[in-house]
């Protein structure tokens, strides 16, 4: 073991990342976290305040802050913005009645200076429910050049899902987001579908920004040894 690898190992220990989980109440933020952490998800109460979970994911130690989404708690979200590396926005895909509310809250977050640059992942949660919107329906639909195509895609890919009314209806207007690197993942906290893959994406995306030089190094290592 050479000196360089010792130094590199040491550096790995310091690799921490602060991830903020936000979204409207009933989106499933706490349930996703508990499921990721392999805890029991049957008796979770709505979050009064916040939860912190720290766990190791790949090469990184994640400090995940899960803040309650009730309307009374939303003004306090700003207290958690500082030093956030990645933002996970959780959407209840079955909650059609509040998609507008969901969109407004998300877009107002994205104008925050302290969240500038943070990677953004949208979890389109509750895909296990038969009445949920697909992630394509949630992403963006309206008035956008690409919208009819996206709608089509949703129907052909996943026929069993009921589709949303596409005409003139912005759902989350994600395509308009230019300020953050974003990605949307359909998932289910109950079945665990896509939770880890989604987390992989956001951790890698944030890591590429935060630990640019060392991630580049890391990628180079396997090819050398192989």
């Amino acid at each position: 073991m050479g000196l360089l690898s010792i130094i590199r190992k040491n550096r790995q220990k310091e690799r921490e990342m602060r991830i903020l989980f936000l979204g409207l109440d009933n989106a499933g933020k706490t349930t996703i976290l508990k499921k990721l952490n392999k805890e029991d998800i049957s008796g979770i109460s709505p979050t009064l305040g916040f939860n912190i979970k720290t766990f190791v994911h790949g090469n990184y130690t994640l400090n995940i802050w899960d803040v309650g989404g009730q309307r009374t708690l939303r003004p306090y979200w700003r207290n958690y913005f500082e030093q956030t590396d990645a933002l996970v926005w959780v959407v209840d895909s079955s909650d059609r009645m509040r998609m507008e509310d969901c969109k407004e809250e998300l877009h107002s977050l994205l104008t925050e200076d302290r969240l500038a640059g943070a990677s953004l992942m949208i979890f389109a949660n509750k895909q296990d429910l038969p009445g949920s919107m697909t992630e394509a329906q949630i992403r963006d639909v309206s008035g956008h050049r690409r919208s009819p195509w996206l709608g089509l895609w949703a129907r052909t890919e996943n026929r069993i899902k009921p589709a949303w009314r596409f005409s003139n209806h912005q759902v989350l207007a994600l395509q308009s987001i230019k300020s953050h690197n974003w990605s949307i993942w359909p998932c289910s906290a109950v079945t665990g579908e896509n939770l880890v893959t989604g987390l992989d994406w956001i951790v890698n995306d944030a890591a590429n920004r935060l630990y640019y030089s060392s991630t580049a190094l890391h990628k180079a290592i396997p090819t050398q040894t192989a």
């Binding site: 109440d25 009933n26 029991d40 998800i41 049957s42 008796g43 979770i44 109460s45 709505p46 009064l48 009730q70 309307r71 009374t72 708690l73 209840d92 079955s94 909650d95 059609r96 009645m97 509750k126 895909q127 296990d128 429910l129 038969p130 009445g131 949920s132 697909t134 992630e135 394509a136 992403r139 009819p148 195509w149 996206l150 709608g151 089509l152 895609w153 129907r155 052909t156 890919e157 996943n158 009921p162 589709a163 009314r165 596409f166 005409s167 953050h180 690197n181 974003w182 990605s183 949307i184 993942w185 359909p186 289910s188 109950v190 079945t191 579908e193 896509n194 893959t197 989604g198 994406w201």
Partner: protein
């Protein structure tokens, strides 16, 4: 450095003086009420004074020595207890203690077997176009163009909406529910209706997520559901349901008969009464061990004092003896009479 600690010292000195002064004053007020029981307004006044004092303490806690902090906190707690005693004396009916439990209470209950639901094949994710160039969306759009989706032919989750003066049950749902499935259900814009979706031999289904919005003067009889219930803007209603999580927003005068393993919450609500799910409507309950009583949290009243917006009535709300309207009622007058008998506003004033 020394000047800083000096100022902290002076602050804690003066704080101690003012804190003890207001504490003794409050204490003597409470003592005065020992002979003559205070009115509700008196109790509220005491509670408000205590809240102010407790706020002052928490604001000052950074500059107080640890020992003093602990002492003052216990003193405040004792006062709180006294005031609470007045409350319970004024309202001896309530059986529950309103303690905030540790958040891990429900961990002991067994997880429901929901894991077995087969995961749907999920589509690949789409990333933002500016970092990946052409996304997979474009890659998959080579299929033959279909006509734009017609909103009429699109099934959503089940929906029960825009009815008044009706008795609604399974046959009134817009699409048939296949037995054994657990669809999500939205109930909205009803007035003066009775909704009965209790499981029957013909319709043994349950629901997953429940979305309830804009109801007035309704009675809802719902089964135990696996998902969460999200409720907005309902007035003068009776809700009977079992669910995984319960959230109610901006509602007034609602009786909730609930079976739940987590803590139900309310936000900007008023006049909510909570009771347990009546076993008459779910005979299997009698064979199951009783669930531990739930603790309601009011997000509009996050304080040590009790929220004025709800009460727990245990099983007292005639819940076992009431003639629940489980049979279809087609006569409008009879429906109106049943509603009058059940709804909170009409019953509480009579």
């Amino acid at each position: 450095m020394s000047s800083e600690s000096n100022s902290t010292w002076t602050f804690s000195q003066s704080f101690t003086a003012s804190f003890q002064a207001s504490r003794t004053e409050l204490h003597s007020r409470i003592a005065a009420f020992a002979a003559t029981p205070p009115t509700a307004a008196d109790v509220e006044d005491l509670a408000a004074r205590l809240a102010k004092l407790s706020k002052a303490l928490s604001d000052a806690s950074a500059s107080l020595p640890t020992y003093d902090q602990k002492l003052y906190t216990t003193q405040i707690k004792n006062l709180e207890k006294d005031i609470d005693a007045f409350r319970t004396a004024a309202k001896p009916k309530t059986r529950f203690a309103f303690k905030r439990k540790a958040p891990t209470v429900a961990a002991a209950t067994a997880p429901p077997p929901i894991e077995s639901a087969s995961p749907l094949p999920l589509a690949p994710p789409i990333t933002s176009s500016h970092d990946t160039g052409p996304g997979p969306a474009e890659a998959t759009t080579g299929t033959a163009p279909l006509p734009p989706p017609d909103s009429a032919m699109l099934p959503k989750g089940l929906e029960l909406s825009e009815h008044s003066h009706r008795y609604l049950s399974w046959p009134d749902l817009p699409s048939a529910v296949s037995p054994g499935s657990a669809p999500d259900l939205a109930i909205s814009k009803l007035s003066r209706c009775i909704v009965n979706l209790l499981p029957t031999t013909e319709y043994p289904s349950r629901f997953s997520a429940l979305h309830i919005r804009n109801l007035s003067d309704c009675v809802l009889l719902l089964p135990f559901n696996e998902g969460s219930a999200l409720i907005h803007d309902i007035k003068n209603c009776v809700l009977v349901l079992g669910c995984h999580q319960f959230r109610m927003h901006t509602s007034t005068n609602v009786d909730v008969y609930l079976r739940i393993a987590s803590n139900p919450i309310i936000e900007t609500c008023h006049g909510i009464r909570f009771a347990t799910y009546p076993s008459r409507l779910a005979p299997q309950l009698l064979q199951e061990p009783p669930q531990p009583p739930f603790t309601v949290q009011d997000f509009s009243h996050i304080r040590a004092t009790r929220s004025p917006n709800f009460e727990l009535v245990g099983q007292k709300l005639w819940n076992e003896t009431r003639p629940w309207p489980t049979e279809r009622i087609s006569d409008k007058d009879e429906l109106a009479n049943v509603l009058i008998a059940f709804l909170p506003e009409t019953t509480s004033t009579s």
